[in-house]
């Protein structure tokens, strides 16, 4: 259910907001010790803008969306109707805000399906991290699954962390 739900959410948001085609790629589902495929680890070494939004209620969790920096800039330009040089003038804040909103929409779509399945919950406010080799470790009692997607020549990663008792 989580895989189908996150795949639909990522695909819908990027299709509607960026008019982009998304193809699901590698998946690493599992518990706290789940292996991260080496190619994902290698990819995440490059600069990324990472958005995260949580959901709290009858079900609790957190979704991280890793967007390669060039993709994040391209997506921001598309959303705001800017050229790359206009985006440079607008500043880095425009990129982080846009990634926050893409993550918010994605996790909102993911969470709404959970609500309709009988697990009412609310979204938290988005937060953003930028940098290279960002890795998210599961805390105790949390399961982490990684889903990757191909979009416009870039690989995006969605990390879904859910409490084990969910």
């Amino acid at each position: 259910m989580v895989r189908a739900n996150i795949t639909r959410a990522v695909t819908d948001v990027l299709k509607v907001m960026l008019k982009a085609r998304v193809e699901p790629a590698a998946v690493a589902e599992g518990g706290p010790g789940g292996e991260i495929p080496p190619e994902i680890t290698a990819q995440l070494a490059a600069p990324h803008v990472v958005g995260s939004v949580g959901f709290v209620g009858d079900i609790n969790g957190l979704v991280y969306l890793y967007l390669p920096r060039p993709f994040a800039r391209m997506a921001t330009c598309h959303l705001l109707g800017l050229t790359d040089s206009e985006l440079t003038d607008a500043g880095e804040g425009a990129v982080t805000d846009a990634v926050g909103e893409i993550t918010n929409m994605t996790v909102g779509s993911f969470k709404n399906a959970l609500c309709d399945a009988g697990f009412p919950c609310m979204l938290t406010i988005p937060s953003i991290i930028t940098g290279s080799a960002i890795s998210v470790e599961s805390v105790g009692g949390t399961e982490r699954s990684l889903y990757t997607f191909q979009c416009s020549g870039h690989r995006l990663v969605a990390a879904v962390l859910m409490k084990s008792n969910n």
């Binding site: 921001t76 705001l80 846009a98 926050g100 929409m105 909102g108 609500c115 609310m122 406010i125």
Partner: protein, 379 residues
Amino acid sequence: MPKKILTVDDSKTVRAIVRKTFKSFDCDILEAGDGVEGLSVAAKTMPDLILLDITMPLMDGVEMLAKLKSSPQLKAIPVLMLTAEGGKENILKIAKMGIRDYIVKPFKEEVLTEKVSRIIELKPSSEGAVKIRSLTDAAAILVVDDKPAIVQQIRNGLKHTPWVIHDFGTQAAALDFLGKSACDLIIISLSLPEESAFTLFRMIRSNPKTKYTPIFGLLVKTDTAPMQHAQTVGFTTLVTKPIDMLELESKVAKAMNLDVSARYFSSEGETLVLHVPESCTPAALTEISTYLKPKLADGVDCGNNHAIIDVRQVKALDMGVIKLLLAAMQTCRDLGVQYVVVGNPQIIAESKGFEETRSWVFLDSMDAAKAKFAAPVGV
């Protein structure tokens, strides 16, 4: 007066998308980053509509909505929720609080304009209307016809204009184009299969972006049923085949509200010249009459105290032309403008046959007219 839309969202990106979405409409976009600021801006500006997010810091959208609805001053402002918070339960709960509509993110810009236009009237931006467009300004015309020969006739007939013709053979292709591009006028063949001309017309009219775009229907004169149907549903005008290109050009200019005075009036030094065209159709005579007084008055204002009424191109002196020339002469006299009439032998001869024109004095060339004005007063 422009409509005021207040977008309350903690995401600058969403607020920028809202600004971008309504850029082409005559409305002011006001912004607030949370519920507290949203209430304050709403109280100060009394917007016509509020687009409200739910998940925000300080005060979320649900709390702001509750405060809004409990305020006698603000409760009548319609609210459209624009939020990532969906789920049937959530939507039902918020709907009971008195919202007008609900959009779950992600959203398409056209869905937003469509839902907003159901609540407030959206008109195209008046930015373009400030500058009156003329015959020399570029414009985009969409022709929807599955007959390449007709499209080619229109292209050839309008090729001397700065108007760009885009043509598509199907309703779907035309709608796809309109979704991506702006268009100043649309010509639709009423003989498209399965009445798709009328379906297309309805879809164009239901889109706030194209609601006021002039739409011409193209048909054969004997197609009375579609002609009546088109007139009933509100096509701007109908153009019959075979197409009279002069008539089409005139209708296009009129529908786009273009200043066509350059066709008939020019300025040479201190002299204003009125060129009466060869083809004095009723439409052309009306156009000239419309511009006559303002153009002569503008000329006087700019120091042009002479006018030449040039009828050399006119083939016959009928009542329409006579009335126009009488009006032109009278306007010159009223404004204190010295005028001469330049004619051709045919017109000069015909003028002797009418009571109203018998006394007219014609010059036979533009040079003679200019020389007359150049001569000292009294010569």
